[in-house]
Amino acid sequence: MTAILLADSVTVKFGGLTALDNVHFSVEEGEFLSLIGPNGAGKTTLLNAITGVVAPVSASLKLGGNDISNLPTYKRIRMGLALTHQIVRPFTSMTVLENVAFAAGFKKVKRILSSLVTFNRMPEKKKAAQFLEIVGIDEYRDQEVFKLPLGVLKRLEVARALAVEPKILLLDEPLAGLNSQEAGKLADTIKGISKLGMTVVMIEHNLSEVLRISDRLHVLDNGRDLAEGEPKSVMKMPQVRAAYLGG
């Protein structure tokens, strides 16, 4: 297996606070990797550094062999990354379908001049409908987003990320805020997407779901790499237990 995403010596500082300290992170093609760790460990910051939302002090980032360390966020996304947000961020002026169709039209808004002479939204809407079906919310397609429950919006985040046709799906706490039944169902959906061949990186606190669906774990604690490897053996490591249980 080859690493599709390689992040080396990632250091991020917020003022005097070191959020990430020389983190090494790699993702194999096709795997389901969960990024775990206690609150404040730097998990979201790591994803933000990878997508370029946060500017690291130092980082060497390679996506599919290409160096993306100095690219702006939108170019990294176009090269094959997609991100969902921990706190859902739908476009509130659009319906569910329009949210996803906009993401699916990423090629049509690539060049600004051609976007002014491009009108047809049908192919993207068709594609969007398929993504809504994959995540199981196609019945809400024409609804305004502000009326919808969190469970639907969490799935909308995933559908919209899929619509940019990424090589890697980065999910930031997709199960947070859902009840155990909803969480289990969404975890199954994400596992299903992974089985279709998508490489998935997931930040998640829900350990029972993490252990159920992940191929590999990467543990961060206090901005440092703590452990990584096969889920069950990682959870048995004393330093991981200490980080989670204190001691």
Binding site: F106, S115, F119
Partner: protein
């Protein structure tokens, strides 16, 4: 129509172009601007100066259009660094900067402005037609933008820039484009205004004018072409029809702007939608 009505209709036409142009920036792309009149002024001064040295009207109007658009793109660059309330302050600065600079320049007429601007070379009714045709084109253009993928991208930027970025959108280019298009259109309106009054002073393009344009957009319903045009006609004619209002124009615009923001953020277009939806529910 008498001369008075023709003159009034010309002002309404120019205001429509202005309001529609600000709507592209603030309504579509979500970038607030409190300095839109500065670009209106750049167009007016450019057209006035060039007309005085003998350029034909289509060239002077075109020059005002391009110069204002270029200035707008430069201001658009600043919008990349600041957002929302900070952008409002930066653009407010632009409004004061424009008037401040123009007042000090002798070749721009200083406080006295520019008088003796040549006539557009057509009768007043014909000029009114020209203004209305351009206003109609401005409306059609913004309707066209709304339907295109560019309009879709503007929606996304206005809703949530950060998310638009994480979906692979180059939001910088879209913001600069919105500024360039909107300000160029304001420059064109400025040129038309210069030929209409044939006498311009810096204060006509000050902060108060910027707020007036913003009121038209906000009262109409930010982003809605139909509402904005309706509000522009209403707000331009009201002080004329009810003369006594004229003295309290600013107070009235202030109250309107405040009430709309406080009670009906979607403006006239929002009311229409509300009515329409209620009827659907029945």
């Amino acid at each position: 129509m008498g001369l008075y009505e023709i003159s009034l209709a010309t002002v309404v036409g120019i205001n429509i172009i202005l309001a529609v142009s600000l709507n592209l920036i603030t309504g579509y792309c979500g970038q607030i601007s409190l300095g839109h009149a500065a670009f209106y002024g750049i167009g007016a001064y450019t057209a006035a100066l060039l007309a005085k040295i003998g350029w034909p009207i289509y060239l002077t109007l075109g020059a005002g259009f391009f110069l204002a658009g270029i200035a707008g793109a430069v201001i658009g660059l600043t919008s990349l660094r600041v957002r929302e309330d900070f952008l409002a302050i930066v653009t407010m600065g632009v409004a004061f900067l424009f008037v401040g600079i123009v007042r000090q320049q002798e070749f721009l007429g200083g406080e006295m402005g520019i008088s003796g601007i040549p006539s557009p070379g057509m009768t007043k009714p014909a000029y009114l037609c020209l203004v209305l045709i351009i206003a109609l084109l401005a409306i059609l253009f913004s309707w066209y933008v709304k339907r295109s993928w560019m309009g879709y991208a503007f929606d996304a930027v206005a809703d949530d820039e950060q998310t638009a970025k994480t979906l692979g959108l180059d939001i910088k280019s879209y913001k600069i484009t919105a500024f360039a298009m909107g300000t160029a259109m304001a420059g064109l309106a400025g040129g038309l205004y210069a030929y209409y009054t044939r006498f311009i002073i810096p204060d006509a393009f000050g902060f108060i004018q910027s707020i007036t344009i913003l009121s038209m957009v906000a009262v109409g319903g930010i982003g809605s072409i139909f509402g904005v045009v309706l509000a522009t006609i209403f707000l331009s004619l009201m002080p004329e029809i009810f003369r006594f209002i004229n003295d309290y124009k600013l107070l009235l615009y202030g109250i309107l702007l405040f009430s709309v923001m406080r009670f009906a953020p979607d403006g006239l277009a929002g009311f229409y939608k509300l009515l329409y939806k209620k009827r659907n529910l029945r």
